[in-house]
Amino acid sequence: MDGGRERYGQCTHLRKGASPVKKLINDPFAFVDETIEGILLARPDHLKRCEGSGRALMRADGPVEGKVAVVTGGGSGHIPVFLGYVGPGLLDAVSIGNVFSSPSPDDMLAATTAAHGGAGVLHLYGNYSGDVMNFGMAAEMAEMEGIEVATALVRDDVVSAPVEEMDRRRAVAGLFFAYKIAGARAEEGAGLAEVRAAADLAIFNTRSMGVALTSCTIPAAGEPTFELGENEMELGMGIHGEPGLRRGEIMPADDVVDEMMARVLPDLPFEAGDEVAVLVNGLGATPPEELFVMYRRVRAVLDDAGIGVHRAYIGEYATSMEMAGASVSLLKLEGDLKRLLDAPAYSPFLPQWPL
């Protein structure tokens, strides 16, 4: 319980010019491990460490014999992405990188082998090259150990590449829909190929777009990743501060939603008669009230387009540290997707309602 003052030397650097970033942390380099420690203390009935890694967590009741395991991973700083989606009806294990950085192949391998219940493992994660390459190494190693691995990459951010180049798109909050669907299909007892197919169907039917009002700061970097002017916002920004569509003066919420919907709807396209699930996601510093103000407008646009809403998820589902802003994701409920979305799922981070 000592050493606080000394460690704190490092926090005072968390500023750049007139943009101080104040954080309730200790040593920025211990940030991820202290977060994991806190989570394991808070949720011992729900999560446990994977053998052989300090940076991999799994369902406390896992591995589940005979079930396909769904395993994810990625950088820290996005809670509830990723570890908040580990649980019954959701993911089996997760590997955890530094803030906004890929986990190591060792940690991915630890998550994969620990969660493996004998029926194969789906690696389901966002399309970021660091994750792709490191999961690629982990999959090779797992296969050498005799574990069958399939992969599905979430690519929901419509502004990150044109639809013809969907392979280059990155993942944002749409990760949640892919997790929910793949987790439900695995829980039903489907085989690896079927679980992958369900994940791919969810991925193909999910489209998202975000808006950022302020930057976020990686604790160990000590400075905001980018700067937005006093009165600026950036439409289409990614969840690590990746460049978006355009910067401009901040607009009323309704206009922001209109511009997002004008990009998201034609991209799939979502059409009259479709039924969708909606996710209005807060990036971290945006009050819940504002997300409901936005949802109001999303509904008005969908009503106008003749598109029905089966479920609405509104809250923080994929954050970017203390970034202010929000994203809107739509999932078109094709085929089995409605049944799988409605299936029970349990995590202390996920209020699935009605249950």
Partner: protein, 212 residues
């Protein structure tokens, strides 16, 4: 120093571990212009991990030292660059196999092997603003030196010069991979951050063999 022994390789890696963290801010700022700004931390943590891992590698062959150091880097600082750099070191290490020493003649093949491994791992081709765009010109330069009967210190200096020139040319390229890939034409004008890191390492290499 006609050839590099295991001790020379360790000395070079130790120099990287000491010097590279000093470029943390420079690499961060460069990478922030291209996406997320994590490269400074990646290189700094990864290089420290290489340094910390060297004690365990005493007595190993140069190829093993390189491959394991690549894995140590990426274990501590996994990322796009971590995976790419680990792949490069592992491929180069594999190329010389269990041999005790590395001759100047081996170097072009090692760098080519590294480039081939990187290309297989990440799918990049030359001209797409990745470390391939400094690795391949560097391999060319080393080949010229080896064929021309140069010595190690001179060859390393030439390799570094080739690297710097190649890095300059990455400015004109449009990024296709990593986070920079989302910037497309907006990435033009900035030198590739990963290639900048490689250049700095090659400078260390040149310094490390200069005394010989």
């Amino acid at each position: 120093m006609g050839k590099l022994t295991a001790a020379d390789v360790i000395a070079f890696l130790r120099l990287l571990a000491e010097e590279m963290p000093g470029y943390k801010d420079e690499l961060r700022d460069l990478d922030a212009q291209m996406g997320d700004g994590d490269l400074g931390i990646t290189v700094s943590i990864g290089m420290k991990a290489i340094g910390d891992g060297l004690a365990d590698l005493e007595g190993e062959e140069p190829g093993v030292i390189l491959a394991r150091s690549g894995m140590n880097f990426n274990r501590a600082a996994a990322s796009t660059f971590g995976a790419i750099f680990a792949t490069a070191l592992m491929s180069a290490g594999k190329h010389i196999g269990g041999r005790d020493e590395i001759a100047l003649d081996d170097l072009p093949g090692m760098i080519e092997a590294a480039a081939a491994g990187v290309s297989a791992r990440g799918g990049a081709r030359p001209g797409e603003k990745t470390i391939l765009d400094v690795l391949l010109p560097m391999a060319e330069a080393l080949k010229r030196e080896a064929e021309g009967g140069s010595n190690l210190p001179d060859a390393a200096r030439r390799a570094h010069e080739a690297c710097v020139a190649a890095l300059e040319r990455t400015k004109e390229m449009e990024a296709q991979h990593g986070r920079g890939g989302w910037l497309k034409e907006k990435s033009i004008g900035v030198p590739d951050p990963g290639s900048t890191a490689i250049c700095l390492m090659v400078e260390c290499f040149a310094r490390s063999v200069a005394g010989s």
